[in-house]
């Protein structure tokens, strides 16, 4: 099944009590297009992610993935459909090795969760697949290290490795460079570029680092106070007066300078 529209969101709303976190947001993510979601703090980016990835139910509206209605489908079922998210706070298996962090989701994907008599290390196919993913992320050399001993930037890469092991078609990256130093940020941007270009995976990124957004995204969606304020190419967004006002000129100009 290869619909041109991978993710379709229709008038999505979500309120918490009286607070309207998202109101009437509609957008479409075409397959293979690197999209980004931006907006000032509290604009509703994380709520949007949580609704799309099945963590929250929307108050109103629908979400379609590859034409299938996935509104309110729980996260572990979305994984099987090919929709994954990464987390803002590093969410990995700390006392396991780098290799094991990737092997765990792979074993789940291969339906081997209950294989209790076979030796894990003799599962050649599984180990090779894991090493391929780690090589892609430049982590293969550290495959036997415990991840809790890795540098922060590498831990974030483990997060990505776990996501890749699930063979996703759409990945929601929630602030992938949050807390990274400039060097690590640079490496993450390169990685997202490369993965987007050389795989079947479509990425949808939220960021508050404008530099990252404008260097990565082909299409940008701007959220403000729970509403979709604008969408377009980086140039269009940069020139959009409403967006400039929402950001009070701050971040966008800073990025330009």
């Amino acid at each position: 099944m290869s619909t041109p529209i991978l993710l379709q969101v229709e008038s999505l709303s979500r309120s918490f009590g009286k607070f309207q976190a998202l109101s009437d947001v509609s957008l479409e993510i075409p397959r293979g297009r690197l999209c980004a979601l931006i907006g000032p703090n509290g604009a509703g980016k994380t709520t949007f992610y949580n609704v799309v990835s099945g963590r929250y139910r929307p108050t109103r509206g629908r979400v379609f993935f590859e034409g299938r209605d996935i509104t309110g489908v729980p996260p572990h079922k979305l994984v099987k459909l090919g929709l994954l998210r990464s987390f803002q706070i590093t969410n990995i298996f700390p006392a396991l090795t780098v290799l094991e962090n990737v092997l765990a989701p792979l074993a789940v994907m291969h339906g081997m969760s209950f294989a209790f008599w076979r030796s894990l290390s003799s599962q050649q196919k599984l180990v090779e697949e894991a090493l391929t993913i780690l090589e892609r992320l430049g982590l293969a050399g550290q495959s036997h290290r415990e991840v809790s001993t890795l540098a922060y930037g590498d831990k974030r890469l483990i997060e990505i490795a776990i996501v890749l092991a699930c063979r996703p078609r759409l990945v929601l990256l929630d602030e992938p460079t949050a807390g990274m130093n400039p060097e690590e940020t640079e490496r993450m941007i390169r990685l997202i570029h490369e993965l987007a270009a050389h795989s079947e995976i479509t990425f949808f990124v939220t960021e508050h680092d404008m530099k990252v957004v404008f260097s990565v995204a082909q299409t940008i969606f701007v959220l403000n106070q729970g509403r979709l304020l604008a969408q377009g190419t980086p140039e269009e967004i940069r020139a959009n007066p409403a967006v400039r006002q929402a950001y009070l000129g701050g971040s966008l100009d800073a990025e330009r300078a």
Partner: protein
Amino acid sequence: MRIRRAGSLWIVASTAFLAAAPFFLSTYWILILTEILTMSLFAMSFNLLFGYTGLLSFGQAGIFGAGGYLAVLSLLHGPSSLWGAFAAALAGSALISLVIGWFCVRRDEIYFAILTLGFGMMLFTVAHNWRSLTGGSDGLGGFTLPPLDLFVWRGSLADPRHFYFLVLAVALIGAILLYRMVNSPFGLMLRSIRENTQRLSFVGADVRAVRLCAFVVAGTLAGIAGVLFAFFNRIASPEMLHWAFSGKAVLMTILGGSGVLLGPAVGAAIFFVLEHVITAYTTNWMVFLGAILIVLVLAFPRGVLGSLLDLVQRYRGRPRS
């Protein structure tokens, strides 16, 4: 690789020692070894949940005791068959752990511990108060141990050395099963659950089902250990089901090392040897045992075996395979 080889050398050596022990150790020490092996199996079953899956069960003794009672009941009311008694205990403890586990695996951490404690206390009360079936606080004895029938060889289990070999064989089978399990993809699931339950369920794993499997395996092995314990003492008693008895498994596991498969066995060995050595000198042995255990736990934060293995690994560098 070298560490692995050294490790297997140690395991072969200790297995050989255990197999040859009846030929050179006194009956006194054979009885102690029998107790150590029985408790090792019990503590290792507990550690599958605690050390590998991150679930602290205080109900493990309940299933351990239930296994013991079921085996004795089967001998008293059923055929006088050793394997029949084992089969009854195996099926019974598997079923009991399936039912208890079905409720308990839904919760994490302290809530899981409290649920297992609750079920354990229920089992204890059944054993303690259902006098007509279980003999109440007196326990359930008065059975004769059928001979060990291995088709090619028959021997009386009244001989401590024969009984020792039975216990050794059962404990080894249990250890091999656990070894295969923790090194399998299923074992990786268990450790991933311990490390980050939510993350594993977000990659599509059925965390509850995996936990339930671990619970049933651990419970069944505990039940089998309970059979050995009841046969050894010629009685099944309510104390076997008490949560304080689960506490023994906790203690042995932490003492030996919860991150290592054989940690609980080492813990059990240290515990029994200390107990027997100290009781020879003083009746206030609990004071001294307690003091020594405190020192050991402080000196070996990852358990005696766990910390020793860490030390070896630091000396030689991590293996690259």
